[in-house]
């Protein structure tokens, strides 16, 4: 119960921080994450109030598909390399098709273990791609001053923390699943806190990245 309340408060914190720090300095990727937060909050509330097994499965499935679409689009926006963008697009389309087919052909009970696991692996891969790009094309000396860093960190922590839980979810009884679901709740809480930090970091968005221009510009004394 306490954890549930904390998670709910963390959602409120994210929403508040977004409204205070991000609305005046709009960035498309932050809006996407804000939509994702609202989407998660709505689905969490609906899921907790649903008792019918089939309906619960449907809710989870729709959530998985929506989450995959929204977060894939977010990664598509923040990755700069055209080649990596194409990889993300292709992998997302394939994953979406696979997940949809599996969900349609499944027995519609229990937990959507395989789709959720596949989604976790996909987003861990996207996060690694993002960090790989940051190493090769550094934009700022302090990577943790970038909102995108905290968002990707939050997503990666959530996906890493819940991967094994989702993999073995269908091998657990309902009681066991409820017992171990605390892992998902804690990961969710950490993710929301990470998103809040990301929105807070955006307050410095009006200042140009210290080294972005200097690494890309051709300014030199030769032009004098």
């Amino acid at each position: 119960m306490l954890l549930g309340k904390l998670i709910f408060l963390s959602y409120l914190l994210c929403i508040t921080f977004f409204l205070v720090f991000c609305v005046r300095r709009p960035k498309r990727e932050l809006y996407i994450i804000f939509i994702y937060i609202i989407y998660s909050l709505v689905f969490d509330l609906v899921r907790t109030s649903v008792s019918n097994v089939k309906f619960a499965f449907l809710i989870s499935s729709l959530f998985t598909i929506g989450e995959l679409s929204i977060c894939s689009y977010y990664f598509y926006l923040i990755i700069h390399s055209p080649v990596l963008k194409r990889i993300i697009l292709a992998v997302s389309c394939i994953a979406l098709v696979i997940i949809t087919v599996i969900l349609i052909r499944s027995e519609k009970k229990g937990f959507d273990s395989f789709p959720a696991s596949l989604e976790s692996v996909t987003f861990i891969l996207y996060s690694i791609i993002y960090f790989f790009e940051q190493i090769n094309r550094p934009q700022q000396i302090f990577i943790y001053s970038s909102p995108n860093f905290w968002i990707v960190l939050g997503i990666m922590v959530y996906m890493s923390g819940t991967l094994f839980l989702f993999i073995i979810a269908n091998n657990l009884s309902e009681n066991e699943l409820n017992k171990y679901w605390i892992i998902n709740n804690i990961s969710n809480l950490i993710t929301n806190l990470s998103f809040s930090i990301a929105f807070f970091q955006n307050r410095n968005a009006s200042r140009v990245s210290l080294y972005h221009k200097s690494f890309n510009s051709n300014d030199s004394l030769e032009k004098l």
Partner: protein
């Protein structure tokens, strides 16, 4: 999945879940820490490179300005010390008392003044030619370099020759001037410092690259010496050469020939870059 079936369901699952989750989180945190530190190192290194580049450019610019000032001083000195006194002397011959002199003395004064004015004209012509050789503008780089080398050979100090193998199409006039100045500077350095007995210049084109090679048998420098001199406060002429070649995005390479008997300087310029440089 097979592993899970083998193990006791409860304890096995808990262990897998526990260790799997801890492992994944450890990997995640490790990755993020690595990325943070690595990125900072990369940026600091790039900053250092940038600073070195800026310092180098500043040095080149200062050298360029100093050379310009020295040239102006030389021209001023030539005009003041040579042309000035000559014209003053000519004026003396043509002063107001001229009309009071007898005809023969007048004729002699006119003749002397004419001689002095002729010398002054020649002096100013030489100064002007050294500033901008008309041969370069009118007939191109090959003729200007030929002229320069003929003057050196004519002075008797050394044997200077040049051969342009493939210069059917002239470069842009401003680029010809830059290359001519570089050749002039290199030749001046050889004359001043090397005690060489011959200089030979060859020009070739290979693909879209324009090559000029200077050979001499005196004391020369290698690429290492050139880079060392460029970083130091001396070697003003070499810095000027580098500045000029940077405008053309050309390269220069100093080396001793394989037979170890003479030094070679190679200048390489990409011809296809001419239009792009102009657009920039």
């Amino acid at each position: 999945m097979i592993l899970l079936q083998v193990l006791n369901p409860d304890n096995g699952i808990s262990m897998v879940l526990f260790f799997g989750t801890i492992g994944m989180l450890t990997l995640t945190i490790g990755l993020i820490v690595f990325v943070s530190f690595h990125q900072r190192k990369v940026i600091r290194y790039q900053q250092q490179l940038q600073k070195l580049e800026q310092d180098q450019q500043k040095t080149l610019l200062n050298a360029s300005i100093r050379l310009q000032e020295e040239e102006r001083q030389r021209i001023a000195a030539d005009l003041h010390d040579d042309a000035g006194p000559l014209l003053a002397t000519a004026r003396l011959y043509l002063n107001e008392n001229f009309v009071n002199l007898d005809k023969n003395t007048q004729l002699q004064s006119i003749y002397n003044a004419k001689q002095i004015i002729d010398d002054t004209i020649q002096l100013i012509r030489n100064i002007s030619h050294s500033l901008m050789p008309p041969t370069l503008k009118n007939f191109g780089l090959e003729s200007a370099v030929n002229d320069l080398f003929q003057k050196i050979s004519g002075s008797g100090s050394m044997n200077a020759s040049c051969r342009f193998h493939d210069y059917r199409e002239r470069l842009k006039p401003e680029n010809e001037l830059i290359i001519f100045r570089v050749i002039q500077e290199l030749v001046n350095n050889i004359l001043k410092h090397s005690s060489a007995s011959f200089i030979h210049l060859t020009q070739n084109t290979s693909g879209n690259k324009f090559f000029v090679r200077l050979h001499h048998d005196g004391r020369g420098i290698t690429q290492t010496d050139f880079e060392k001199l460029n970083k130091s406060n001396v070697g003003l002429g070499l810095k000027n050469i580098q500045s000029r070649l940077k405008v053309l995005q050309g390269k220069i390479f100093f080396e001793k020939d394989m037979s170890q008997t003479y030094y070679k300087v190679t200048i390489e310029i990409a011809r296809v870059d001419e239009d792009r440089i102009e657009q920039e």
